[in-house]
Symmetry: C2
Subunit: 567 residues, 2 copies
């Protein structure tokens, strides 16, 4: 292919802004808008301007190359999808409000694909008939749609976004493990080539279903995920995915449970203060409705319930908080004084593993103004199911080694799942096995947020001057600045042509009527790795080469500069 | 970039079929499905399998290179769009049922973009403030959505399809003409590189609005467009766009109009037979309702009315045929005997230019069982407006030189429009002019059907054996066939590796348990330009090289074959 022509800024659709957009909360949102890379078209829906599109395409190319390298076959499936396959797996309903649904002119139900497990499953059902046709890895790079309740953070969390999704199909569990391992390696290479700092964390499967899953998280303040890192061992996990072993304790020395009058103690704080105990000695019971049925959730009084975990546990059932009306309808539930003893008939009870069998608690006595002490799990009340529902805190013990965990915010840039046979079961995907009998296929599903990776890169690499792209994803190799009058512009264009002829991608700021100061500021904001300035010494054929990241600068002749940059 | 690995057919997701799909009507649909390039996901919604995706990407690359060459800047706008800009231009309603509309979780109205004039106009309004920021050409390659009433013909006319759309922005009419000319040239280069046979035809602007427009039509029996070609001059036009000059004639010698009894002549045929005249001597008046108001459409009795042209003329008003109920409600309209004389108060009247002032006709007398003769246009009745509404026929005179036209079916593969200021007016797109005053911007809009071009290419290049791709778009350069046992497979893989190492894109049919005959048939069906067979003489290191198009074959040593193919 021919060398790319010099991109002149005088003709480039990339207006830079001095001020942050009013609605921008996170760094990448501010900088990508200010540097003229993206513009908002509607809530959570973005347009990529020329420089943004170049970065996006660079990320896309890297992802494609690494997917091809593990034998992935690129396909392109529709974004507009019929309802039926999503009904068959239950996801038409399970996705709830996050799914964009629409009707065609004949009244048929369609959706905008949030992920494509169903359609890939049906494709392989059509294409593969024998175990000899497997294993196979199929991938696509395509827009996905999710109607986020609160689209925020610019392109970090849009409602239309570009994703690489791939799917593996195997007949044996070992094959799935191998396809999963191949993806894990490919993702490591992708994120390394992109220049992203990332961690591989244990994750929950969420709406996707399946068993094993890991997330690739890029630490960044703007991230919506919180992950825990053990300073002592190799444990790292999304806090949503941390689970603790249940450790029963011996309660033989605990006296019988006993009611204690506790007037005016409607909260854990007032209760603990009144009794002179730590909040952690009390048992808090949060009431929720699961598809309309009351369930109590028990956690130590000093911990918060992570409603996301409760919802994930009961999904696809809908979880709601109880209301005033519920207490009116159920006088047997004494507000502020609910305890798990004897709750059996009245409501379900789930509890955090910290409420292990044998642990003793101060908790509500199911009577007004009364609590009970020495209430022992497994003796005085039963737990229907133990579920990790508390919000993980900094310093909580590492589930692997016990050391206090460190918490950080991060952006989810990739996610790999061993789905198993969930989708193959729902859509009856079998192939003929070696013995001539049908074998149910086992699947994996794997995603890279392509547009999100651009934002994550912006977050991690930006400095106080602006964007600062790694070489392989930058929209250009060199940003040539004409800092002066006609002489400088002529030299800038001349050296730009020389660099382009040598195969470099060149952006040249040839704008007339724009001061050198503004051009310098823009060049730093836009973040091309090398900046070449034709300025004061242009008449001598001397230019200044500046490294965007380090700020190091050096005066060179044009020949030296070209030689240096094309080396 | 590294050379692409050899694509082994034993691992490729591309199942060929012996039989045409039951629902396939056109050649490209049949062949692209049979050769394993595409699969149907829903009506008018297609999945691209690995080989199809490669062809699609090749077309995309050529389009991109040629758009870059005319200074186009690639951007990527959303497919999911807010309603408001389309309300401002009226297209939210005008698009009718063809627009996919949907609501988000908050009840906001959205659409799936059919074309993006509105969003590009707003983008440039945000980005450009001065005449110095223009001209600019922006383009994207993106999925578009149209809810076709009868999606048919495979990917020739889908409801989700890949398109390159571009938009030019200029301050002066001459600038628009220049941007238009650049696109015209770029499209010529694109279609030439693709190897498509095409014509540039005058076209109507349709729902897009604007003035000048031309279509790039690829002659093919499966096409939905009909175009007229003059065998004598350079005239070529979509038949929808042909218009004739109005040529008044001298009617001074025509006697006064006179009623004639014509019982039992409800049709033109019975009337002409009963009077012993040609149908062309009679004037047929078709009644339609335009937004509920009756309008008569006058054409010579031997010609058909093209309802599409009538609809286009009155758009966005809705045109319907009159019904039984309308005649009951309007006894003043005598069914079968309507004539334009005195229609003035009762209904509007449009007529074909063939009903020019001074022409004399036999037509209805607005009384039962009665016609009138010597009814002269402009003397006995007035035409509200002359509109080209007849169906163009083979042999109709060329509007330019009068020679009888030749008609052909074709596929619209590109369309270029001079939109003018329609969208800029609706969305108030101004920039500061040289004199410091605001100038309204003038626009062009230009489209290439990327996925449709793949189907058009399949249509034009296929032969009775199957697909037959031009080199630059083919999914591989060479299709190596292992025709035999282990020895042949080993040789095929070995030569494949050598070819891939030399930079060629290689597909190798290494399938075990598939007969040479089936492999030969598949290789012809799949249409890679060069086929290399490791067969009978494999032990001697001799292979057969076959040209897919000509069928010419030659026995060569492996070294000779590699040298030939990599030359």
């Amino acid at each position: 292919m021919a060398n790319a022509p010099v991109q002149r800024m005088s003709q480039l659709m990339a207006k830079t802004l001095r001020d942050d957009p009013a609605d921008a909360e996170v760094l990448s949102h501010k900088l990508l808008v200010r540097a003229g890379y993206v513009r908002r078209t509607a809530a959570g829906i973005w347009s990529w301007l020329p420089l943004g599109k170049k970065v996006l395409s660079n990320v896309e190319r890297i992802v494609r190359e690494e997917m091809d390298a593990i034998g992935g076959q690129e396909v392109l499936l529709p974004a507009l999808l019929p309802r039926e396959p999503y009904d068959a797996t239950g996801r038409w309903d399970e996705y709830g409000q996050e799914l964009f649904r629409l009707k065609d002119r004949k009244g048929g139900d369609y959706l905008l694909g949030p992920t494509h497990e169903e359609i890939f499953t049906l494709l392989v059902k059509d294409q593969a008939s024998s175990y000899k046709d497997l294993p196979v890895i199929l991938y696509q790079i395509q827009h996905k749609y999710r109607d986020e309740a609160r689209p925020r953070a610019g392109i970090l969390r849009g409602r239309e976004f570009l994703m690489k999704d791939s799917y593996s199909f195997d007949t044996e569990d070992e094959g799935l493990a191998q396809s999963y391992a191949l993806h894990r390696q490919a993702y490591q290479r992708i994120f390394e080539r992109l220049g992203l700092d990332y961690r591989i964390c244990a994750a929950t499967a969420g709406a996707m279903g399946g068993s094993k899953s890991e997330e690739f998280l890029a630490p960044a303040g703007a991230g919506e995920d919180t992950f825990a890192d053990c300073p002592n061992c190799d444990f790292a996990a999304n806090t949503e995915a941390i689970s603790y072993e249940l450790k029963p304790v011996d309660a033989s020395g605990v006296p019988a449970a006993e009611d204690i009058p506790t007037p005016d103690t409607p909260t854990i704080e007032t209760l603990a203060a009144s009794l002179g105990v730590q909040a952690s000695a009390t048992l808090k019971n949060l009431l929720v409705k699961v598809d309309g049925e009351i369930v109590a959730v028990g956690v130590p009084g000093d911990r918060e319930v992570d409603m996301g975990k409760v919802e994930a546990h009961f999904a696809p059932a809908v979880v709601e908080m109880v209301t005033e009306a519920d207490f009116v309808a159920r006088p047997d539930l004494v507000r502020g004084y609910v305890g798990p003893q004897g709750l059996g008939e009245k409501a379900g009870y789930i509890a955090d593993p910290r409420v292990a069998p044998g642990t003793a608690w101060i908790t509500g006595a199911n009577k007004a103004d009364t609590h009970a002490k020495n209430v022992v799990a497994g003796r005085d009340f039963e737990v229907d199911e133990y579920v990790d529902v508390v919000v993980v805190q900094e310093g909580d013990p590492c589930p692997k080694c016990g050391t206090g965990l460190k918490l950080d915010r991060a952006i989810e840039i990739g996610h790999i799942f061993q789905l198993g046979r969930k989708y193959a079961d729902a859509l009856k995907l079998d192939v003929l096995g070696q013995n001539g009998k049908p074998v149910r296929v086992t699947m994996g599903s794997y995603g890279v947020g392509v547009s999100r990776a651009v934002a994550a890169l912006a977050e991690q690499t930006a400095d106080d001057k602006g964007l600062c792209w790694p070489k392989e994803v930058a929209p250009a190799d060199v940003h040539v600045v004409a800092a002066g009058k006609a002489l400088q512009t002529e030299l800038a264009l001349d050296v730009s042509e020389k660099l382009a002829a040598a195969g470099l991608r060149v952006l040249c700021d040839d704008r007339a009527g724009v001061s050198p100061g503004v051009k310098f500021t823009d060049s730093e904001l836009m973040g091309v790795p090398q900046i070449l300035v034709a300025g004061r010494r242009a008449a001598e054929g001397v230019v200044e080469l500046k490294d965007r990241r380090t700020g190091e600068r050096e005066e060179l002749t044009v020949e030296e500069a070209v030689a240096r940059l094309t080396a």
